[in-house]
Subunit: 315 residues, 4 copies
Amino acid sequence: MTLTIGVDVGGTKVAAGVVDDHGRIIEKLRRPTPSTSPHETAAVIAEVVDILKGKFDEVEAVGLGAAGFVDESRSMVLFAPNLAWRDEPLKKKVESQVGLPVIVENDANATAWGEAKFGAGRGEDHIVLITLGTGIGGGLIMDGELYRGRFGIGGEFGHFRVVPDGRRCGCGNRGCWEQYASGNALVAEARELARVSPALAGRLLELGDGSPEGISGPEITEAARGGDTAALECFRSVAVWVGQGMADLAAILDPGAFIIGGGLSEAGDLLLDPARAAFENALTGRGHRVFADIRMAELGPDAGIVGAADLARLR
Amino acid sequence: MTLTIGVDVGGTKVAAGVVDDHGRIIEKLRRPTPSTSPHETAAVIAEVVDILKGKFDEVEAVGLGAAGFVDESRSMVLFAPNLAWRDEPLKKKVESQVGLPVIVENDANATAWGEAKFGAGRGEDHIVLITLGTGIGGGLIMDGELYRGRFGIGGEFGHFRVVPDGRRCGCGNRGCWEQYASGNALVAEARELARVSPALAGRLLELGDGSPEGISGPEITEAARGGDTAALECFRSVAVWVGQGMADLAAILDPGAFIIGGGLSEAGDLLLDPARAAFENALTGRGHRVFADIRMAELGPDAGIVGAADLARLR
Amino acid sequence: MTLTIGVDVGGTKVAAGVVDDHGRIIEKLRRPTPSTSPHETAAVIAEVVDILKGKFDEVEAVGLGAAGFVDESRSMVLFAPNLAWRDEPLKKKVESQVGLPVIVENDANATAWGEAKFGAGRGEDHIVLITLGTGIGGGLIMDGELYRGRFGIGGEFGHFRVVPDGRRCGCGNRGCWEQYASGNALVAEARELARVSPALAGRLLELGDGSPEGISGPEITEAARGGDTAALECFRSVAVWVGQGMADLAAILDPGAFIIGGGLSEAGDLLLDPARAAFENALTGRGHRVFADIRMAELGPDAGIVGAADLARLR
Amino acid sequence: MTLTIGVDVGGTKVAAGVVDDHGRIIEKLRRPTPSTSPHETAAVIAEVVDILKGKFDEVEAVGLGAAGFVDESRSMVLFAPNLAWRDEPLKKKVESQVGLPVIVENDANATAWGEAKFGAGRGEDHIVLITLGTGIGGGLIMDGELYRGRFGIGGEFGHFRVVPDGRRCGCGNRGCWEQYASGNALVAEARELARVSPALAGRLLELGDGSPEGISGPEITEAARGGDTAALECFRSVAVWVGQGMADLAAILDPGAFIIGGGLSEAGDLLLDPARAAFENALTGRGHRVFADIRMAELGPDAGIVGAADLARLR
């Protein structure tokens, strides 16, 4: 049995794990990300790898999943909005410090690979993974392979446009899908409702601190679970956008399964039921084709570690 | 040298050719499609194959490109709106009549493969082919392979939604891309302009029969080439939608090149220049990534024959 | 009893009538409009007035309703798209030829006044008249008076915007109400449906000449009366826009009644029932206010003659 | 010379003044509004009137401007969202306590009348007053008279729909003009920008408390005055909606002047210049008509007192 290390490098923490060839995490470690310094971030990565490798001699390679654009040779981070990296030669830097082969991968790709091989995607070769959190992360498994695109940056589902002249997006455009179908969109929906119709949103305001800004995801989920009409309407509204976007992706990609992860997916059927209904209602060619499965992710936040480690094994 | 036969089965004609392993068509043949009878359509296909095979002993296999949903085993046409096929076992039928191995492929996929291997896509492994005609046809080459999707029906770009509650589409939805970015969309744009502002559309009406309904694609292209403001505005308007849609596809697929074919593409730079500008203006992450190439298709209507034949060779 | 003459000057015909002070037309006359010559149009107007005045000595004044922008002194036609008039001193021209006092009024205003005083608006002081034909004509009665605006051109309801970046309008803008809620909009809806879903639109195509362009208003109304789903859906779709626009106007104007005239209104409850439902559903403050009445016009195409004649009497 | 008292009854304060027949305020008084008790609110109104009347014997009548729907007899407040009034017989209540004739008017109507007669509207008979604050208030002067509508609730410009399926509004609809063209809309725009593009919004965040929620109107105006690109873009974005809505109102109402008041108008040309440009660009029939004037309000927050007092004089 071989072991590899997977590292998930996010804007707030570096989470690493030693993973076996069944996708099991044997030992885990995490550190805060010194996110304003690219140099120190690389040093923290090297440090956690060193510690883990010191405990398990069999470790053969390291996979890094980073939130940013990664080049097609899986060596450089071209651009990482929350990590201050610009054209960062991460593979070289870490390899020189840890003495093991390193590959760099986009974090959503690593997550998709983890879920596809060891989680909700087992047995399916055509998978679209959608992570609904602050924004939308995406990964594609096609014909059993991770699809990375010509320049390594495919799968940016969050930024196809769903509303002309729609809501502003951090990417500089307007109307991007993630402004309508993400955890942030759910919160924005609830706060807007509370601002313009406080009476309707009474339960939401009560669970928050009384002000629209005090309402966040957990309050909305709690209220919806308790049957609060306003919260359910917020979920339904966001779920319709989730379902419509999946129908758009299915027209293009014809996957066998969608896997839905990220914070918003923790609401489970509150989200998935109306999303599935909207998907089936919007899919082009419905009646002449099979509906793709829509599944919850299974590995949770560890998927990125597991996926990055496995990609290092397959390097 | 081996030879294979490619057959492009459309709603109005069956076009077949003997193709060598450099993608050259050695001999061609065409027949009208008896489109209301699935049975007779298969008979016509068998007939043209028999004739061609009679002339070239070296023919080893047959590839059929059909305008419809094809199953993942490349044997059946599940649904073909213009050919009256429903769950048609086309491979079996034709093989039993011609005594050669047969594969069935979606026609836009065959075209994409032809262009990718022998036309505008040579040397590029990540290609999105977009055929702008009556509607939009699409094909994907990913990592050098034709991408077909889980159920054989990926690449239906024409039907992702670009405008909520937008124009009706024949697929039963509203707001599909092909209602805004196709040859039909250009004609609709020009006719609408002529209806509401006949004075502005004087040149277009003059080239047509004097009525909005008399304006079709060639008139618009001719007027635009002559510098007519209204015609140029129609092109610009459609091109902006072409460019926006390519930006959306690039967010998802990150291709190295877009190849634009179909009747509308014959307008050349009248279309491509404003489409490219709109694409570059709308691409998410612009400034941190390479722009994909946007190229005209090179093989014209023969691309489907060439592609189907080559896919049969590689079967 | 005094008599006055009302003249309705449209793009295709000049219709005149002698009207008594109960709004009854005693004698009528019509001539084709020589629409390309402003000069000849004035001559035709003078001619019909002369004939009528020759028969009725008691005629005291003449009211002209013209399809165009009329200045605030009710003397000049500033601009009439279908009549080739630009800054036409119509009052002076006609007065010099007929020897009677003349006032010029916008035709929709004349119609509104006729309906308000002698037709569907009797007893109501705050009226919005909406004429749904090729486009939308409008007239306002406020506090019992015809409202003309500062420059004589108020009530152009057809051109407030209901969809950003919507359908082109002949006025040069996009998204104007009349592109969604008029006889033309109904026809456009039915033709679009027939183009993209011929199977659904079978009855409409059958009543027309088999082509989408062969479908016009009467066919749609006939099909809808016979219960055809596609035709009813076209009516419903247009009626929703009619109702929404009335809700917008009610927010601004708070009328006691809407009077709906024009060719599209001949469909009666096929149009009014869903329009009323949409209005009541969209009205701001519903639940805390009275719904305005929505009524069919009563005087038909004569309303313009009756109104112009009465405005001349009240000059 | 006669004197009358005007009282502006808002959700937070009751402001009253003694006004002469030149529209000058001789003495002013204000009290907090006990907004949760309709009864106490009436008592506070009576109290301030009593005090003022005690000082000026010549006071002849009282005009109350209230933020709500007022019935057509100017006696009752039908509904006032921020004042807990439902079918409140305000005229009777106050008259019985103060022993003077009382009229009740919608506060935006009172403001419009004040500005029209003594402020920016002097000399113009067709005025649309638009108050851009938290939402949009409106008033109409037509043919020199205050226009109140059939049921007393005309001029609710804030609630005509400008975007189908647009932003939620407190009135229960979506896409109302005030969600795009008000002080609140400006703040929402700036906060959205700060949330999705903190780097671009650096100056705005710096002037606020560092969080998007800390940005309010004064910060945006200050940043815009200093030339900050993000703040100017927020103003431009809101101003385009202001201008478009004025063009829509001009199509319907053809006023001679728009008067712009409310907190947002304090930004002056930062708002009015782009709003005017958008108005002129969007007006239907431009080229064949005069553009209405667009003017800043002159009386500030006192306009409501002055207008209510004058309406009482003219009762």
